[in-house]
């Protein structure tokens, strides 16, 4: 722990990159994921089950594979090479969006599907716009939605394969907690790797405690 405190500037920069990139990815990924999940709940179109299985499968794709595909796309020789995004934070954000989307869609779908069908009708009956009614659905399913957000955030902030591949682990620029851990391990500096790992552990603990607290309050409401 003293090591953690003594690592000062560079450490906070690394943690900052992790949070900035992952929060940005969440910010961008959540609205479309919510819409897709909503459409999957509301609309029965042919092939819906196929789409859901497909998204479930995407959830299991290793992060390095996503990283590799993105690398090929963004590479100088790749179709999007002109964007000059490779080894930048935006590239990491894109990778994490791709990683977060399937898990968000699957978990948000489960959460929204758990809400009584009458909720949507009732909101529309009371004059709510579709957007307001959708927001109400999210609020009705808020514990499931929070769980989805926490799970997705946990996945992308803890992943290393994609961040390493498209971010490049450039110090002070695209080096985040996980790629820094990989580097410290490579260097044989286990102690620093463990210190950074503890940051992730503390983060996971905080997120889960928060979720537990929310859940607890939810149960109280139901019991009352």
């Amino acid at each position: 722990m003293s090591l953690l405190l003594s690592m000062d500037g560079a450490l906070w920069e690394i943690i900052g990159v992790s949070f900035r990139v992952s929060l940005m990815a969440m910010l961008i990924a959540v609205p479309p994921a919510l819409l897709i999940a909503f459409v999957l709940v509301r609309c029965a179109f042919p092939g819906r089950w196929l789409l859901i299985s497909l998204i479930n499968t995407l959830m299991a794709v290793p992060t390095v594979v996503v990283g590799l595909l993105l690398f090929i796309l963004l590479s100088r020789a790749g179709p999007l090479g002109d964007w000059h995004l490779l080894f930048t934070q935006p590239a990491m954000v894109i990778g994490q969006i791709l990683l977060a989307l399937p898990i968000l869609v699957v978990m948000l779908h489960a959460a929204l599907a758990g809400v009584d069908k009458r909720a949507w009708e009732t909101a529309l009956q009371l004059g709510a716009s579709r957007r307001a009614a959708l927001w109400r659905l999210v609020m009705e399913a808020r514990f499931g939605v929070m769980a989805a957000l926490v799970a997705a955030f946990g996945r992308i902030i803890a992943e290393v394969g994609c961040a390493m591949m498209v971010g490049g682990n450039i110090a002070g620029f695209t080096r985040n907690i996980t790629t820094a851990i990989a580097l410290e391990t490579l260097k044989g500096e286990y102690a620093q790797g463990v210190a950074l790992g503890m940051v992730l552990l503390v983060l996971a603990l905080a997120l889960n405690l928060m979720l537990g607290l929310l859940r607890g309050r939810g149960q109280l409401v139901v019991q009352a």
Binding site: T122, L126, G127, R136, E140, R142, V221, V222, A224
Partner: protein, 270 residues
């Protein structure tokens, strides 16, 4: 004594016994006058022509084209309904499975009919409120449910006006003391009152209730009837369904019966 206020196609639209008084009602729109050019002085609130609902066709052998359309649930040849504030509500009766809920949902615009025409002759873009058999209460406080309704109503006023509306409806439903409680902690009768207040908050011209008396005890039904009477007097046109007579049948001005896949209308004996 309730004057008959409903009219079926057998009764001419101009029947003097069902005048539109206009007080508290959304006025008939100009287009309605055109539709009923024969007598411009009276326009029904609801105009139905040839409305029908067929159940989705089950997977079956093609070739029998009549069968492929699906079974006819009900058919409404023609209906002009012009309720008055004094007339009380319409009691929609029918056996289980006769299609009462579907008819109400079609009238509320929540699901399309499979054929025919349906018109609400009112300026209100969103005139009808429908209450489920077991109304859905949002997972928030009692007051929170009303706040949502106040925020969502078509012409929502300032925050202050909305707050006044919410407080008024809390008093009206007798739930002022429970305002901060979770809505889902209420008893059955309280839930019914809250759902009614939530629907009535924006003073819609039409309210449709699906089996409101089901799952309620006698006292709760009477509480509900009291409030429905007030609403009718203030100009709300109400249709409620039930498969049997109960305390709510008493105050009805007319009885519509779904049987043998068609709707029969008659003034209430009430």
């Amino acid at each position: 004594m309730f004057p008959p206020s409903s009219s079926s196609s057998s009764v001419p639209p101009g029947d003097p016994s069902c005048p539109v008084t206009g007080t508290g009602f959304a006025q008939a729109s100009p287009s309605a006058a055109q539709v009923l050019a024969a007598d411009a002085s009276v326009a029904p609130l609801l105009r139905v022509r040839g409305l029908e609902y067929r159940l989705p066709a089950a997977a079956q052998a093609s070739g029998e084209s009549a069968e492929a359309q699906g079974r006819l649930l009900w058919h409404v040849a023609a209906l002009d309904w012009a309720p008055t504030p004094a007339s009380g509500w319409v009691h929609l009766k029918g056996d289980n499975g006769s299609g009462k809920t579907t008819l109400l949902r079609v009238l509320a615009g929540m699901q399309p009919a499979t054929g025919g025409k349906l018109e609400w002759q009112t300026r209100d873009a969103h005139p009808v409120r429908y209450l489920h058999q077991q109304p859905y209460l949002f997972d928030t406080s009692v007051a929170g449910n009303l706040v949502l309704a106040a925020r969502w109503q078509p012409d929502s006023g300032s925050a202050g006006q909305q707050r006044d509306q919410v407080e008024e409806m809390l008093r009206w439903s007798g739930l002022s003391d429970q305002a901060r409680q979770p809505a889902r902690s209420l008893s059955g009768g309280e839930r019914a009152r809250l759902a009614l207040a939530r629907a009535w908050l924006s003073r819609p011209p039409v309210l449709l209730l699906d089996e409101p008396a089901a799952n309620l005890d006698q006292a709760a039904v009477e509480q509900l009837a009291l409030r429905l009477e007030q609403m009718c007097q203030q100009g709300c046109a109400v249709i409620l369904s039930s498969h049997q007579d109960n305390a709510l049948s008493q105050g009805s001005s007319a009885r519509w019966t779904l049987s043998a896949a068609s709707l029969h209308t008659e003034p209430s004996a009430g």
